[in-house]
Subunit: 204 residues, 3 copies
Amino acid sequence: MTESLFYLDIFGTVSFAVAASLMAYKKNLDPFGILVISVITSVGGGTLRDILLRNYPIFWIDNIIYLVVIIISSLLTQIFIKYISRISNILLIFDAIGIGVFTVIGIKISLNFDLHPLISITMGTMTAVFGGLIRDVLYNEIPVILHKELYATLCISGGVVFFILKYMAIPVDINYAVSMLFIIITRIIAIKYNLSLKSLTLIK
Amino acid sequence: MTESLFYLDIFGTVSFAVAASLMAYKKNLDPFGILVISVITSVGGGTLRDILLRNYPIFWIDNIIYLVVIIISSLLTQIFIKYISRISNILLIFDAIGIGVFTVIGIKISLNFDLHPLISITMGTMTAVFGGLIRDVLYNEIPVILHKELYATLCISGGVVFFILKYMAIPVDINYAVSMLFIIITRIIAIKYNLSLKSLTLIK
Amino acid sequence: MTESLFYLDIFGTVSFAVAASLMAYKKNLDPFGILVISVITSVGGGTLRDILLRNYPIFWIDNIIYLVVIIISSLLTQIFIKYISRISNILLIFDAIGIGVFTVIGIKISLNFDLHPLISITMGTMTAVFGGLIRDVLYNEIPVILHKELYATLCISGGVVFFILKYMAIPVDINYAVSMLFIIITRIIAIKYNLSLKSLTLIK
């Protein structure tokens, strides 16, 4: 599972980088600005988690693959912006996968530190949403997580699911998968329900 | 004194959480957004202090009481918002107590690290005001501490008082109490003087 | 070279503090707010670098000279604001020196941690530009580095120059000097070219 989590992590990183690049492009940033935003959005949450837990070395400093993947994803998004813009609904699904993966990875790492479940859930949620919060601050917008209820709260719910299953002694690999799917599916449902209500779109 | 400082710390945390929840409510954030703002305002300063000093584990990660107290305070504030809005002047006094307590706690922790008094005073002030600075940034407002003179400067003054008394060999427990009261009282005086001038209100 | 780097570091710190104070003055901040902005702009980048690399103690906490130099620079700038405003073009050159020095110092420190060159260059660039990014966020402006191409990218280019020369086995002291001058000179050229285009001014 650890290895498949790594691949999922890379997949989550790619989708965050693509979604962030698309959003930044719509804000008329220049190519380098778009790249900076993509990096910050993709690694921001995990970086804060690692600093708070003293989980050194910070993941993207230790393993060059993260920056490389983000740079390539961002450049390709900018080159193929026309085609990718057309599938921005698919990006919402990618983003949903991203927050599911990142929440579970944050919880997994926090388990190494013997923390209270409430803190572990906070770490998981932070891993998923903090990069986006910094992105919104850089845009001078009030962060999405402060006024869109069904985003961070779904990460928290996924964390609660994880710890309920953990106390029921469900094998941890199955538990990771179930919690992750819980977040991804509820997020996709939230998007589907609310797209018509125009209240939960990631890409404004 | 260490134990009474702990209770004061909790009291400071509660008042910061209540004041932050009230402010966030007036900004029309949803309940979860209000909670996030309350947590960030209440623990932000101490978290930066702990990271800068490498004072691990970070206080609120090590002891669940902080998050629990903030969550309860924020929820109760939201439930009883009608009654609490009426006593918002009392909240300014709570906030004054909060910055007094947090400055002294920041200085106390920095004493373990054998730092220059100027750095210790910076750490104390940062503990008191940095959470509010992040809060203002999240609201897209120019932070209060950048344009209201008698807020952070009173924390700094309290720190100067502490080190003057320390060099005069005043017992440290008395010194903590005096410095804290100095900040709280000067802050309350500043509020009283300026409320009519409409220049120093915490709750705009 | 290490000693001359220290003096250059202080010189970079002074010019960042002076430039930040001048900008903050134009935003009508009060004296204390100007001081806070100067400190954050000057030490912000190096602080994030030290936290990410776990390069403790953080440079300005360990050595009081940084804060002292910033406070004196900021106060003198505020006192002699009339005269300094007239030479704001010179400040752009000071700022260019600052980013050159800080990039090289960031790279130098990262070399102690045996990192991939891409990460070292990121650390160098972050040291140079992150303080300014926080400053812009505090002003509620979209950070300069997100929409002015020839600022952070010149730091990155200087880092690339450094690693090319390093692989060519150029002595490291010469390498530091050449990379630093590369950044400073290209930045000054960028300013000269673009001042007339009104697209690259630091002081808006």
